[in-house]
Symmetry: C6
């Protein structure tokens, strides 16, 4: 993985989901699918919050794909 | 992984699929097979769009193989 | 992964769980879920302690997600 | 992984399979076994072609082992 | 992963298990659990020895967690 | 992973197995267990040969553990 570069389209798309409080589905290497809103991202991790206001810290190394909740 | 080098044959092949709006099958480490057209690629991720016009952001670390849809 | 940077939000969130002796659930790439309190973190690993006071050393490369125990 | 170094024995062995149009079996992290001939390799990926002349782009990060087809 | 730094708490904890000839359980990405004593560690690998005095070389990239045998 | 350093104990142990034509068991991330003798190693890969004299090129990123065949 390259350095954390906030001008990359992928990083910006995540940033837009944060700004729009878009509900997303996040697939992880363990095949877990986390549903929630992204609160923030940094170089190593993302933080999601679900309907019960519980926060989950997800490490970037475990990310597979992300899409807006249908 | 080396730096993101757009002159690499593999990167160029993806770029051709983007230009030709080629429908592709993308296999991921979770064994998911995503079918769609690639919208763009950057150093960290690829973005695909499916028949329902839904976008999926896929991280490069999760990529296994890619082929044109038969 | 970038260098270990203690100013990152993700690293600081773990640091807060350590300070607050918060019980957490830690999901690993093997799908194991470890429940306990985090004793310390360093650039390569985290150390958790469970109810029986047994310590587990977890390597960062195996981390998937972390949340406070419900 | 080190830089892509074409003098390494492993890289050269793949290069020989390419030159000899040797049919190979390529095992991937998803447990998929791809059978075909290698068309080219670069620092990030390999390209295989099967009996139906379909090309598959395989990312190096997904490679497990390679052997000549028995 | 950062450079191999013997002053890190995680590396030192492994070093203590080596010195104390502590029997440990080592979980790997394949879900294998290896039981034995650690003989040595280096930047890339660990070496364990079991009850039958058989040695196993384990690569760091495959490590998930480590704990003293209960 | 650090640079390929032939003075590391782990690299030297593999080198000894090569020199002694020791039959080994090599566990991979796919849970495959390859049995054979190691012919050579380089920074990216290992090459094993089995009883039928067939060669298998194994990428280092897929290595889990190695032990002498019992």
């Amino acid at each position: 993985m390259t350095e954390y570069d906030t001008s990359l389209p992928g990083i910006r798309q995540v940033q837009n989901y944060i700004k729009d409080k878009q509900e997303v589905e996040l697939k992880l290497v363990t095949d877990d699918l986390i549903v929630g809103k992204i609160l923030w991202q940094d170089a190593d991790s993302l933080c999601l919050v679900d309907h019960y206001n519980q926060q989950t810290l997800v490490w970037r190394q475990a990310l597979v794909f992300l899409k807006p909740k249908a």
